[in-house]
Symmetry: C2
Subunit: 311 residues, 2 copies
Amino acid sequence: MDKHKLIECHERIKPFIHNTPVLHSRLIDGIASSTIFFKCENFQRMGAFKMRGAANAIMQLSEGQKQNGVVTHSSGNFAQALSLAAQSLGVTAYIVMPSNAPQVKKDAVKEYGGRIFECEPTLLARKTATKKIQQEKGATFLHPSNDDAVIIGQGTACKELLELHPNLDYVFAPVGGGGLIAGTALAANYFGNNCKVIGGEPFEADDAYRSLLSGTIETNTTTNTIADGLKTQLGDRNFPIIQEYVERIVRVSEEEIISSMRIIWERLKIVCEPSCAVALAAVLKEKEVFRSKKIGVIISGGNVDLGKLPF
Amino acid sequence: MDKHKLIECHERIKPFIHNTPVLHSRLIDGIASSTIFFKCENFQRMGAFKMRGAANAIMQLSEGQKQNGVVTHSSGNFAQALSLAAQSLGVTAYIVMPSNAPQVKKDAVKEYGGRIFECEPTLLARKTATKKIQQEKGATFLHPSNDDAVIIGQGTACKELLELHPNLDYVFAPVGGGGLIAGTALAANYFGNNCKVIGGEPFEADDAYRSLLSGTIETNTTTNTIADGLKTQLGDRNFPIIQEYVERIVRVSEEEIISSMRIIWERLKIVCEPSCAVALAAVLKEKEVFRSKKIGVIISGGNVDLGKLPF
């Protein structure tokens, strides 16, 4: 990967994504003792940054591959992203979802034209169902985070942020499967002015923190976090990028996540997922370290169940 | 009032307000069967359109008046708006608030530099306290909605919306004290291309609807509505403007308000007050009437108690 690949990717997906707004709050600056610009991917199409990587991954396929469709297993934002990106590009998306996935998630995928295949809620059933669709339909499997085209696509959010604010000292992003933080780190490296990237991760799902320490991909020992988008683990495509380009990872508690989420909702007046709040929580956790710095925070998505808010 | 007064007002207050973003959602368009552009005054400074009118009203004062400060009675957004506008302009703001006002509202006023005078929660006590400050401090009383400078200031939100989308068929705004709807109606008349303005009002606080019918300012018989910003009544400065320039008022139920609020939060991913949802609820209530039209909706503010959401 290099700078030009990310530039080409951005040009390629521009017709299918929003250049999302960047918000700023003097009151949050006051709380943080720094200047923070929030890149609001909750306003992205289908409500999350995942639209970027999904669009890029599909567009990188050959015409023959596109005709046979794409398949993924996800009950989260990537399922919606792949469905909408595929619909926008005239491609069929097959989504393998566990039978116990919330109805609202299934409805969202259907709304965007995704074709759902339900399976038992086990890892084996999920893999078997996915394999079957690959074989029967000839569909191409796309991974939500461990795919070069997806990683580069996710990096375009940070690229847009740096186009508006070229002199950021830091960009913070949450760490889940690793696609967003890896893409963000590449973009900051290519387009920033000595801009460092720091990940935010819940103590309750700190696989990436421990992976950076041990030098090998670790799994989560618990996933007891409100940040439900961050329960996944890193992969062999994104981990080397994270090792090379991510400064470090700051872990935060559930209380810190909820408190930061409340700050974002109350002060920025936006609806965001708990996962997004992890990045702000990381800034606030070490506010003395980042005092007076210019900081970007990636607000990763806004698909939240309003019936299950923590406040 | 004329077109040039509104243009001058807008130029005057521009350094003190945000030109707030306009959001659009294909999914909401699908629900409404029309094209809706949301002018997001929840992103305005202090979180509501009231900043516009407050800034304009203070800037219209003489130097001598500014030195003696301004006073209002409000426990809502105008208290915060007057405090922040005054602070930005180096003027003292005295805010008369009932002693039983929520602590969070008092804190917000203090945060913006307003000086709070508490009074008993009665109309008489409020008026007495206000009068006392006018006499003792020489402060100028500014009304939250029944003041020409305030009305014109509120109209700048619709002016900005029409600058982006000049061919709107309709603009919807909620009707509370009448300042926003009157200013919106003036702006649509001056800057729209045959753009009609329609008010949204809860059945439970339908004083303006009845005022237009009877031709005289009516009071609310109930104020049992979740839209707590809309419990006030019209005044003699804004009522004639509303009579002349507002097409009509559509009343909506509490269920319709909550349902529309949920649509805004879930689809636009923004935090807004129940009052804002009244305007969208009015569009949806008569969606057949407005089918295929280009519609603006003023999202009036985002200062909501996250601990008391209706979902």
